[in-house]
Symmetry: C2
Subunit: 328 residues, 2 copies
């Protein structure tokens, strides 16, 4: 990849070369490539993750109020903790702002971070403020690890694939915000985009109980994130599009279109795999998860990811725009 740009190589292409070469420490329990790292601090296992929202990439300043932006910056990180079954505890905030950004707006942004952190049981313990040409908020978050660790690696052929909540709403909001979708203001979708709901209670329970064999949060889209699970678990999967949960608002707006539900990112729902033998325990726990959870397919042997349409026939994934998993 000598002369190639990072835009051409892509994040995944870059990371897939980088990660295997990173040194590890005996106190690294789970290294890079997961939603969070797990490190040993004394006898304690600690989750550690970082994520950033960047103006022009993840948002335009008129899409979200500063308070909403602050909230969301924290919540996307908390979702990574949820995907590992942890509890958010402490965060540090790396802010980059234009000098012309109003102090009042920065206070509101910070208040949003603090409010979201408080709601998730965490505190802001430090930060850094730097001048930049565009607004960005990077948050590094420490979490308490669950007794049983769960990662993206662990899915086995025959496991059932579950997803929490509904998918595609945030992507619908982004389409509307970018002006790519006409029609009236999709209020419900915009709310989902602005205020993700990290599935902390469900993530914790699914991990601690040992019900799930792998878990990830849906930040890049169902198929792409399922691709991460398949890749790291060395398995394939088959998904039934008709089973993918969609909100009423999504169905009203897009009818039976699968595109955003399968490929849309930023829903921050949990995607997990459940071995057949654990299905009864999942049903016992269902009411305690704090969110709906829906079976959308199964894990298969072989490393292919297949999508079955409403008629039960395989749909071409590439044709729907998804190529991340396949082109590796």
């Amino acid at each position: 990849m000598a002369g190639r740009t990072i835009g051409a190589v892509g994040e995944h292409g870059f990371l897939s070369r980088l990660l295997p070469r990173l040194p590890v420490s005996p106190d690294t329990v789970v290294g890079p490539g997961q939603d969070c790292a797990v490190v040993r601090c004394g006898r304690q296992r600690v989750l550690f993750t970082v994520d950033a929202l960047v103006e022009g990439t993840h948002f335009a300043t008129h899409w979200l109020s500063p308070y909403q932006l602050g909230r969301k910056s924290f919540l996307v990180n908390a979702s990574d903790i949820a995907a590992m079954g942890g509890r958010p505890r402490f965060c540090v905030v790396g802010l980059q702002v234009r000098p012309a950004y109003r102090a009042r707006d920065l206070s509101a942004l910070q208040a949003g971070i603090v409010a979201a952190a408080t709601a998730c049981g965490a505190v802001v313990v430090g930060g850094n403020l730097a001048r930049a040409a565009q607004l960005s908020i990077a948050i590094a978050l420490l979490g308490e690890a669950p007794r049983r660790l769960v990662t993206r690696a662990g899915a086995q052929a025959g496991d059932h694939v579950y997803v929490s909540g509904t998918l595609g709403d945030a992507a619908r909001a982004v389409r509307w915000l970018r002006g790519a979708q006409r029609g009236h203001r999709p209020a419900q979708a915009l709310r989902r985009f602005a205020e993700p709901t990290p599935r902390l209670q469900a993530g914790r329970l699914l991990a601690e109980s040992g019900i799930v064999s792998s878990m990830i949060d849906v930040s890049d889209g169902l198929l792409r994130d399922l691709g991460h699970i398949c890749e790291q678990s060395g398995v394939g999967a088959v998904i039934r599009t008709a089973a993918v949960p969609r909100s009423d608002a999504y169905r009203r707006a897009l009818g039976s279109s699968d595109l955003l539900a399968l490929h849309g990112g930023e829903d921050y729902e949990l995607l997990c795999t459940v071995p057949e033998r654990n299905l009864p325990r999942l049903e016992q726990q269902r009411a305690r998860l704090g969110c709906p959870i829906t079976c959308v397919g199964r894990i298969t042997a072989g490393r292919r990811l297949r999508v079955l349409g409403p008629d039960g026939r395989e749909m071409p994934i590439a044709a729907t725009g998804y190529d991340h998993f396949r082109t590796r």
Copy 2:
């Protein structure tokens, strides 16, 4: 500060309003406003810090090779751990890059981070790569806390003020890089700018031994960082300019000019205060610090920061460009 921009309010002005209002947790041992936060993870006390280097603010891409930039990104964080007497352990990296940035350069940058982390006894356990209009590297670092904590608050009237290494070289490099200083390439200063040397051994020893009453790293300039100590300790200080340690290269280039030694940032030396009764122990430990350490003045009662010129007369601080501490 309703309609004012963050450029007008400044980082310090903003943070001084924000920090007192942040919620704290019973497990927050040391909250925001220090070089690192200290949090409790189980029975372990952990240092937690974040710092970022931003293109156009902290560097231009032609100032440093990607490898040097990666190294420096880690080292400035390690310096914060040094200032709290800790050991760097684990970091996560939040990278923001232009799509046109070359993958090869990003690999070199990442290799620089890893090399610096390895040299400091730490590992990279995770990260995030986002598209942006300018290059920036935010690193969040976890460290092992020393048995005795040391912060910026703790200096008492009568304590001696010490600084490690020499000051002003990095600022001299920045002046030259910005074209504000003519003459031949200041190789030694450029090396200091490109490759800070976090004083981990000295920091650890000074904290663990209980010799120092307060400590900080000199990232914003001697007077400004001493201002932070004075402010948080509720004391003042008097500095003798003639005592401020300068490299031979600095003296050759700038003669007796104090400006950069007093005000220049990015030296990443340690600045600490030592009670009179601990001076003999400091002398005993001096050889084990791994770097020179020089007395530059004393802590005083009252909250004034005074600078004495070579003739022993007080110099006007504001006139030399330093106004951070005074204008509060």
